[in-house]
Symmetry: C2
Subunit: 200 residues, 2 copies
């Protein structure tokens, strides 16, 4: 089965759009999704951006908000803008990395995005993440402690370095088995189709 | 008939994609296209950018080149990357403004884009623009002189001010009769559908 890597940052609203539809689109094409959480902050900072481009460039930010509202309405997707944007996503990303090994990265990631963009909550907050973990039947205190451990911190740094090595500069990004990079929720179908068409 | 404003900058490769398909898509939906050439340079400079973001952010530029190649191939569209990118488009934009009043803005604009992105030519060059005008059966020397006149210069400055007033920050952009702004070739179908669905 062809595999598509889904590279996402929890603060990215367009990655939220992809997270909520990638599994059904992939299943329809017989593609396996590999969830790859990473941090955009270090990549943005390396090019001189201290926050989201949607905050740095206000007209771009205003268009994005309308674009999101139009797309969410067209897809029948609830959308509640988060109280803090962009969210600080360090702990959420570390937890997602643990979930990758443990097998719950997809439901955890979708629950984080739902809390952030469908309930408007601040997913940097410890109690929000605890509630999400408990909602999945997981041992929240143990996982929060593990998320702060040196191996998990190092793994997230390595993941973000891997994103840079793939030439990733934004989220969502999709990487095919033959190394083709697609950026943006509006390129998700193209990326999946590329996976299916490319030789194994 | 609903009208959609197509705001474009000749240096924009994604606006090239839209220019080559907007008329057939609009005709299929019964939408009239209003061609609105403007300059992105002053808008980019106001936010501190001295050239195209695809040059300022190299990873973004590398992705754009692949994205363009994939989309052009899927659409059966010839694509030859221009020798100079982004092109200096001041004279081309002034000529297009004259063409708006005179009724040849659409064929002229498509011919400029074809020379730039399908033949790889530098459309800042006087001889390239002259050849395009002559190819349309127009009086090139007279039009080149008119393009340098004060009224045309003032009209292009006013047009770019109007783009800013519409909150336009990139190209292509589409503005519907009820003031909705859509950015990007990948939003063209949405913009046209919005025009058709919106009350007159």
């Amino acid at each position: 089965m062809p595999r598509l890597e889904f590279w996402y940052e929890f603060a990215s609203n367009y990655a939220f759009l992809s997270a909520m539809r990638i599994e059904s689109l992939a299943a329809a094409r017989g593609v396996e999704i590999v969830w790859r959480p990473f941090l955009l902050g270090p990549i943005f900072r390396a090019q001189g951006w201290t926050t989201s481009p949607f905050n740095l460039f206000p007209a771009k930010g205003r268009h994005m908000r309308r674009d999101m509202a139009r797309i969410a309405a067209a897809r029948g997707l609830p959308l509640v803008w988060p109280e803090v944007f962009p969210a600080e996503t360090l702990t959420a990303a570390r937890l997602a990395l643990i979930g990758e090994s443990a097998g719950w990265v997809a439901p955890f990631s979708k629950a984080v995005y739902a809390a952030e963009f469908q309930e408007g909550r601040d997913v940097s907050r410890r109690e929000v993440l605890t509630e999400i973990l408990e909602g999945l039947g997981l041992d929240a205190p143990a996982l929060m402690a593990e998320a702060a451990s040196d191996p998990v911190r190092a793994a997230l740094r390595a993941r973000t370095e891997a994103a840079i090595a793939h030439d990733i500069f934004g989220a969502p990004s999709f990487v095919t088995p033959d190394g083709e990079l697609f950026w943006g929720d509006d390129r998700l179908e193209q990326a999946l189709d590329w996976c299916v068409a490319a030789p194994p």
